[in-house]
């Protein structure tokens, strides 16, 4: 499963928690040429819940793994997470 962190990030550190997995990302900033900040690949099973936390922005959300849509696009829009899952690998330009 790929988490694509796209728009709105600037020196953001995120925490991804899924069961025993507790991962903290490096600071990420959206690169404006591509609209992409970072891609995080996790090996998760169908139905698993992933909690996404941004401590400094006081944001928290939970995503359920859907194997049919393994690409999760996460953006920060108007101070909130905007999440979309897709079957097709997102491309950036």
């Amino acid at each position: 499963m790929e988490f694509h962190f796209t728009d709105g990030f600037f020196d953001d550190v995120l925490q991804l928690i899924a069961g025993d997995l507790n991962l903290t990302t490096d600071p990420m900033t959206t690169r404006m040429q591509t609209g992409l900040a970072h891609v995080e690949t996790l090996h998760l099973t169908e139905g698993k819940e992933v909690t996404l936390i941004s401590e400094n922005r006081h944001l928290k959300t939970t995503i359920t793994v859907d194997a049919a849509k393994p690409y999760v696009i996460v953006a920060l829009v108007d101070g909130a997470f905007e999440i979309a899952a897709t079957a097709q690998m997102p491309g950036y330009l």
Binding site: D7, M32, Q33, T34, Q88, M89, L93
Partner: protein, 796 residues
């Protein structure tokens, strides 16, 4: 219309320069070829004879023959969507002039350059010599450049007029954008466009007023012959500028397409009918990368230099990092230079280090000059066809072409359609912008619009959005030009600016003394050093820094107005070119306190000085030098000031003596006697005694001008040389400081030559030896010392 070929794919040879089949402009539905007059305001144009019958110009082919400039504003064919002039039955009634109410396209770039005054040669006439006016000084360079971009027709008109002003001295620039409020065709090729200024950047006073009027008028023949720009409104007196048409495009740009060997076939041209998912009324034609940007307003050309880059340069892993691409750009791009220019490198490679998910990137946000290079990755997601697509091959061709234009758009500082409003901390938009998430633009992602990719392609017309076109065509050029403003700064979008980059020369303005502080009354001398910083020997006029004809200096007292220095002495000489090797310099020195109008530096305070040299094909601009003039330090200095700062005294100082100006000489004697510790006293002593080094001719008017005769004042070499030596060498450092090295040593040489001519060889040799010692003490360049020693050697 010719049948269009398939989209262009190229292999090893590339096809960037293939000639795509295009719909001619005047047949293209997106092209606006002109305008028809409004009914209410028509200036009648009387034409005699049968040629006045409009039916004779049914397709306007005949009128096209009178187009004054290829590609320029002309009387075009009537585009299909412009209502045609109805062909009505001609009533049987007395003949009257028929008003022709059609105005051809005027969009493009116009320039204003102030006139350059060239002195007329004074003819040599037989007969007695009579006094005649000396030709006045010239302004040798264009101090003001105005570029006007008119955008009211041709492709995707945006109803804007933008004006860009660059002033050389003191350096300043301004830029405005005006929205068109009316566009009237008042007769055959007689067009008036009014606009309100809505955006300003830079020095407001350079472009005063609130309104803009652009007029294009027919003079003789059928085409436009005269263009004027008027700035008015806001209570200012209207300013008019006569413009010259430069191009139907707004700026030039050159693209160089290079390809990594393993990139496979690359697509640099696309047949708009290649893929079935497209707007139903999209014209069927083959677009090239250049065509897209030409329709965006640029005179886009493809560089003939195309390189196939060996895969060995792509790094051990075979993919490319941004740094590797930047290095490849520096290595392979024939035009690479770390400075702003209208040129871009486009690299087709197989894959980026980031993997298949990156289809292309404007990678050049490294180093001091961003946005010069873009890359398209052929082995990336752009090959991934949407499931169920009816034409996978066409889909891939379209994707690759679209991606290339998208990345090149980033090179013009265009942001993604959904990022336009973003400000800090990412960057700053040039004006408050709204996102365009639904834009059918090269800068949007097809998958992001409502309805997804199919919805995008069904309405995409292979163009940039209106906001993007306004930015590309009318934003301050530094925002747009490659290598200028950093990526995403003023996005959505120099001084330059062209004036910041003067090519192969550098010009240094310097006082050649320890500090830039001057005493009250002290004439300010400046030295100019112009160095060949190019990569080859140049041939230029060797005297160009000395003859006063190529140099312009501006002086601005802080808080006061700017004044132009005009040399009192300009020498006209036979043109001769000297070779100046790389790293070598030309030198010149001038007293800049005195100008043809008198004194320019005559008050205590801070001044800014800047010089420029007209090289013909370029203007070389110096550093700005700041100097300080102290207040009077003695009562005598203040007392003599009213008589000293006069035009006559200025002339005596500038000419190093003028015995006929006896009153001015009296003032200088007063300075030499009462202000002896002031450096001005040294100038005074030199000017007072210099004429005595040789027999000096003066015109004696006698009882009146009818009785003019030449009188000779006999030289008093011994006395003059003694006085000069005292003024120059009693305190050689003080004298060299105040006169500048070039004038100081020239004067010593002049004294030695006068002594020698007068038979005082011994005295001349002694003076030359002292001169050489001062040269060495002051660290003069060795070439000058060698020359002085050679002269001395010849006299021993």
């Amino acid at each position: 219309m010719a049948k269009t070929p398939k989209s262009g794919s190229s292999g090893a040879s590339g096809d960037a320069n293939e000639d795509p089949v295009l719909i001619p402009d005047d047949e293209h539905p997106d092209f606006v070829g002109g305008t028809i007059a409004e009914d209410e305001v028509v200036d009648e144009v009387a034409l005699g004879g049968e040629g006045d019958d409009l039916s004779g110009f049914d397709d306007f082919d005949e009128i096209d023959e009178f187009t004054p400039a290829p590609g320029g504003p002309s009387l075009p064919r009537i585009p299909p969507h412009v209502p045609r002039i109805p062909r009505l039955p001609v009533p049987r009634q007395p003949w009257r002039p028929v008003p022709i109410r059609f105005c051809g396209a005027v969009s493009g770039k116009y320039r204003y350059r102030p006139p350059v005054f060239v002195p007329r040669p004074v003819p040599i006439q037989p007969g007695p010599i009579v006094p005649r006016p000396i030709p006045g000084p010239i302004i040798p360079i264009n101090l003001l450049q105005i570029n006007v971009r008119v955008d009211v027709d041709r492709y995707y008109p945006q109803s804007r007029i933008s004006i860009e002003v660059n002033r050389l001295f003191p350096r300043a620039s301004a830029h405005v954008i005006a929205e068109v409020t009316s566009d009237r065709c008042t007769g055959l090729n007689n067009r008036t466009i009014d606009a309100n200024i809505v955006y300003r950047d830079g020095t407001n006073s350079l472009i005063p007023g609130t309104k803009v009027r652009f007029r294009a008028q027919r003079t003789t023949g059928f085409g436009y012959g005269k263009y004027t720009l008027t700035l008015w409104g806001g209570g200012i007196t209207a300013r008019n500028y006569n413009l010259s048409f430069e191009s139907k495009y707004f700026d030039p740009v050159e693209f160089e397409v290079d390809r990594v060997a393993n990139a496979g076939n690359i697509v640099t041209a696309y047949n708009t009918a290649d893929h079935p998912r497209r707007p139903a009324n999209l014209p069927n034609e083959v677009l090239s990368l250049a065509t897209v940007f030409q329709r965006a307003g640029f005179d886009a050309k493809m560089s003939p230099n195309q390189t196939v880059i060996p895969t060995s340069g792509a790094g051990a892993n075979g993919t490319w990092s941004d740094t590797e691409m930047h290095n490849a750009m520096v290595t392979y791009w024939s035009r690479f230079a770390n400075r702003p220019k209208w040129a871009m490198w486009v690299l087709y490679a197989a894959r980026h280090d980031r993997g298949r998910g990156l289809g292309g990137v404007m990678f050049d946000d490294i180093g001091p000059n961003h946005r010069q290079g873009t890359a398209i990755f052929t082995d990336s997601f752009i090959q991934d066809v949407t499931p169920g697509d009816p034409d996978p091959a066409g889909f891939r061709r379209r994707n690759q072409f679209w991606t290339a234009v998208h990345e090149m758009g980033h090179g013009f500082n265009l942001a993604h359609s959904w990022q336009k409003s973003l400000g800090a901390p990412y960057g700053n938009p040039w004006i408050p912008l709204a996102n365009e998430p639904e834009a059918r633009s090269f800068m949007n992602y097809p998958r992001r619009v409502a309805g997804g990719e199919n919805a995008f392609w069904n309405n995409f017309r292979f163009r940039f959005s209106d906001d993007e076109l306004i930015f590309m065509r009318h934003a301050p050029r530094r925002f747009v030009q490659m290598g200028n403003d950093d990526w995403f700064e003023n996005h959505g979008f120099e001084a330059p600016s062209e004036l910041d980059h003067t090519g192969d020369w550098s010009l240094e303005l310097r006082p050649n003394r320890a500090n830039n502080s001057y005493r009250f009354l002290e004439p300010v001398s400046m030295e100019l050093k112009m160095t060949n910083t190019g990569d080859q020997t140049a041939h230029v006029e060797g005297d160009m820094l000395r003859d006063g004809r190529h140099i312009t200096v501006f002086i601005q007292r802080e808080g006061g107005e700017t004044k132009q220095w005009r040399p009192m002495i300009t020498s006209c000489h036979e043109t001769h070119e000297d070779a100046v090797d790389v790293g070598e310099s030309l030198y010149g020195a001038h007293v800049i306190s005195t100008s043809t109008d008198g004194w320019l530096i005559d008050e205590a305070g801070f001044y800014k000085v800047q010089a420029a040299v007209d090289m013909g094909d370029q203007i070389v601009v110096s550093n700005v030098m700041r100097l300080y003039v102290s207040p009077p330090q003695a009562e005598a200095e203040a007392a003599v000031a009213p008589d000293y700062f006069t035009e006559d005294v200025a002339r005596v100082v500038a000419f190093n003596g003028a015995p006929e100006l006896s009153a001015a000489e009296d003032v200088l004697r007063q300075v030499a006697e009462t202000c002896a510790d002031n450096p001005a006293a040294k100038h005074a002593q030199v000017a007072l005694t210099n004429p005595n080094l040789r027999n000096f001719k003066v015109l004696d008017a006698g009882a009146g001008r009818d009785d003019l005769k030449i009188k000779t004042q006999n030289a008093k070499v011994s006395t003059a040389a003694k006085a000069q030596t005292k003024a120059l060498l009693d305190d050689p450092n003080g004298a060299a400081d105040t006169m500048g090295h070039i004038s100081f040593f020239d004067q010593l040489r002049s004294v030695a030559e006068a002594m020698e001519d007068h038979g005082d060889d011994k005295g001349a040799v002694a003076l030359m030896k002292k001169t050489i010692k001062v040269m060495k003490d002051r660290g003069i360049i060795q070439r000058v010392i060698d020359n002085a020693e050679a002269r001395l050697e010849r006299r021993k």
